[in-house]
Every structure is written in structure tokens, then in C-alpha cells.
Point group: C2
Chain length 202, copies 2
DNA sequence: CCCAAATGTGAGGAATCCTTCAGGTTTCAG
DNA sequence: CTGAAACCTGAAGGATTCCTCACATTTGGG
């Protein structure tokens, strides 16, 4: 991996606005044109600055994408942990519902950008931050399963965690991208919660 | 979209072998190096031919990838339809099990290539053939649900189809890539079948 | 064996793209 | 106001990639 740290840190408010504009432009170009056509010149142009300026704050194109991924996954993680925090000692059904709803919210933060990152970025460029979200989710579910172990219909916690995490992730992701019409009501949350609970519990 | 048809059709067995070698090399390079680094020169080199030869049979890089996608999705579709054909009038449970098993088999044909195509190719280059597989799956599930309508726990067939298709697809795909250790026994098929049936049926 | 058609070769042109750098403009502390 | 630091500019160097084309080799029917 090449150098990723910024070459210069913005000190004046003018440059902080510039960095923001560059990151915002990166997201827009990534969504609109895909990673292939997201050239640094095009990003700079959309941000309303010259390429040189871009390279003052990001040593290379990867660093730019990394920064964007970090910003995006931070937003998702913030939403997730907020919901998780408030389900101390909830029933399994209640906890499942809260997590499903939180996943939908997290995916709805910026669906197009999330889609662009997940299924447009080459795998080797999907940096830690993004992958960490899924790892964290898997860990959380594992704790959850251990906690309700005696109510579970299966004793293969490893496989159950795999199934739950991948199912919820896939459904929330697909819904936000392909079926936004499902998001208006609580029905989708109901259905996914039922899917998971019927599978997990005796 | 640019021209995709071959510029010249192979007539002698020598050239048919060449075309095979090129396609095989494309798959290998795509898996090993990713789409970004899969240059036509590198593919030709790996196939043991010169770039010129490659361009005799494929007018451009896209045509090469399209041909590979077609070949791959044909293999998957063949497996799927074979299994579907033999479940005339099966019970819902039996049908679900057969479909889940078929999906796992289809994904196991060439997991690395499938992964490379799905999550490495830019979305705009994931050509018809691949997307058609999912569309076909969705249609099949819809027929299946209509047929067992009176036994279903829900009357929102649209949403149920969405959930079933995306769930099975995500789980089979993830299992083949991330957890090949789940594939030895019938346990994963059991679990996914249970997940789907408990959700769908009263 | 012979030759026209089929097949194969690979250096290099044209087009991009990432990145640099020499020199300009703006800001702000003193 | 002034000068140094911060910030910005954009032409162009160096690298990479797709694809072509003039030419060489191989094949198979007559």
C-alpha cells in the first residue's frame, strides 16, 4: 500500500472548505461515473479546484477513496451503535427488530455511495473501514446468540451467525437499492424480523 | 455499447484451440489480478498468443469479458434448470430444498470467477447474461409462491419473492466464497431450507 | 507439391491518466 | 501595511493501456 496520509493539513477555513468540496465531489463522481471514470482531474473539476490543490491534501487517488470510505463507514457505524446501545436486556424478538431497523437506517444514509463503494470499487480497494463494519456486525450477532443460547433452535452458533449476518445485510442492502418502495412502511422490518426470529427460536 | 461480435470466426481446429486458450486466460487473469490489471497484453501473454491474435477474434476488451460472462452464466443456468425440471409437483419443503441445493451447486462451478465477475467488474460491464440469471431466479420463485399461495404465511407475494431470492442468493454466494468448510455436509442446505420454509409457510 | 485462405506476430500510434512543480494569489499575525 | 506562510493553478512529464497494421507462418484442398 502506498502513502495514505495527507501531505498538508488544512489550517485555514478556506482550505477546510476545499477539502470538504473535494470529498463531496469524489462521492458524486464515484456515484455518477463509477470508479473507472472517476479521474482525479474530473473530481477536481467538479470540486471547483485544480488538480494541484487536490494533491496538496491527498497524496494519491487511493488516499482520496480511503478518506471517503472512512467518512461513510463512520456515519453508518454511528447510527448502528446508537441503536444497539439502547437494547440492553431486550427480548430476542425486540433486539432483532431494533437491529434490522438500524441496518436499514444505516444503509439509507447514502445508498448510492454505499452501492458504489461495495460493488464498484475493486475488492482490493475496499479498505479496512468498510470491511470492519461487517466484522463488527458479525461479532455483535455472535454475542447476541450466545446470550439467548437456550432459546435457540440450533446449537451451531457459528453457522447461525453466518446466516443471520449475511441475510440481514443482503436484504437491507438490496431493499435500499432496488426496492425503495418497501421503505415507507414498517412492513419490511416486520418481515425480516419474522424471517430471522422464526429461524433462530424454538 | 461498442461492437461485440467477433471479427473473424475460427474455422480450423488450431484457431478454435486459440479462442479457448484466450477465454481461459481471461478467466485466470481476471481472478488473479482483478479487472483493473487484466490488460489485453497480459491476457494474450498468459494464453501464449500475441495481442494481435486476440484482436482477431474479439474486437475489443469488452467483447472478451462478455464472451466469458456468457460462458459462465450458461454453465450456471444449465445446472439450475436441470434441477428445477425434476421437481414437478414436489411439496413446498422438497422444492425449496432442491432449489437451495441447486443454487449452491451453480455457485460452486467456478466460485472465484463468479466472485470476480460479480464484485470486481464495474456494474456497467456486468452484462445481460449474468443479470438474467437473477431475473430468471426471481421469476421462478414467483411462480412457486403463486402455486403454493394457500399455504403461505403472508399474502404479499411481491415482498416474499424479494426476500427469498435475495436471501438464498446472498447465502449461497457468501458460503461458497467465505465458508467453503460449510459445503462438505448437507447441514448448510438444511439450515437455509429451514430458514426459508419457516418464513414462508404457516 | 502448391498456393490461397486462415492464422499468427509484435512494434508502436493514439489516447488516457496520475502526479509533479514552478510560479501565482490570498490570508493573517505583528 | 508588510512579509511570510498558507493556499491555489494548470501545463506537461512519465507511465500505462487499447488497439492497428504490415508482414510472417501454417494449413488443407486440388
Amino acid at each position: 500500500m502506498t502513502q495514505l496520509d495527507p501531505r498538508r493539513k488544512p489550517r485555514q477555513s478556506r482550505s477546510r472548505a476545499t477539502v470538504d468540496a473535494i470529498l463531496q465531489a469524489t462521492a458524486q463522481v464515484l456515484v455518477r461515473d463509477g470508479y473507472q471514470k472517476a479521474t482525479t482531474n474530473r473530481i477536481a473539476e467538479r470540486a471547483g479546484v485544480s488538480v494541484g490543490t487536490l494533491y496538496q491534501y491527498f497524496p494519491n487517488k487511493d488516499a482520496l477513496v480511503v478518506a471517503l470510505c472512512e467518512q461513510h463507514s463512520d456515519e453508518m457505524m454511528t447510527l448502528l451503535s446508537a441503536s444497539i446501545a439502547e437494547l440492553q436486556d431486550a427480548t430476542a424478538e425486540r433486539a432483532t427488530r431494533v437491529i434490522v431497523r438500524a441496518m436499514l437506517q444505516a444503509h439509507a444514509v447514502n445508498p448510492e455511495l454505499h452501492e458504489a463503494i461495495i460493488s464498484n470499487l475493486p475488492k482490493e480497494k475496499q479498505f479496512e473501514q468498510i470491511l470492519a463494519v461487517n466484522a463488527q456486525a458479525e461479532a455483535m450477532v455472535r454475542v447476541f446468540l450466545e446470550h439467548h443460547r437456550e432459546r435457540l433452535a440450533t446449537d451451531n452458533i457459528d453457522m447461525a451467525a453466518f446466516i443471520v449476518v449475511n441475510t440481514v445485510e443482503a436484504l437491507t442492502h438490496a431493499a435500499v437499492i432496488e426496492r425503495p418502495d418497501f421503505l415507507g412502511t414498517e412492513e419490511l422490518v416486520d418481515e425480516i424480523t419474522r424471517l430471522i426470529c422464526r429461524y433462530l427460536l424454538k
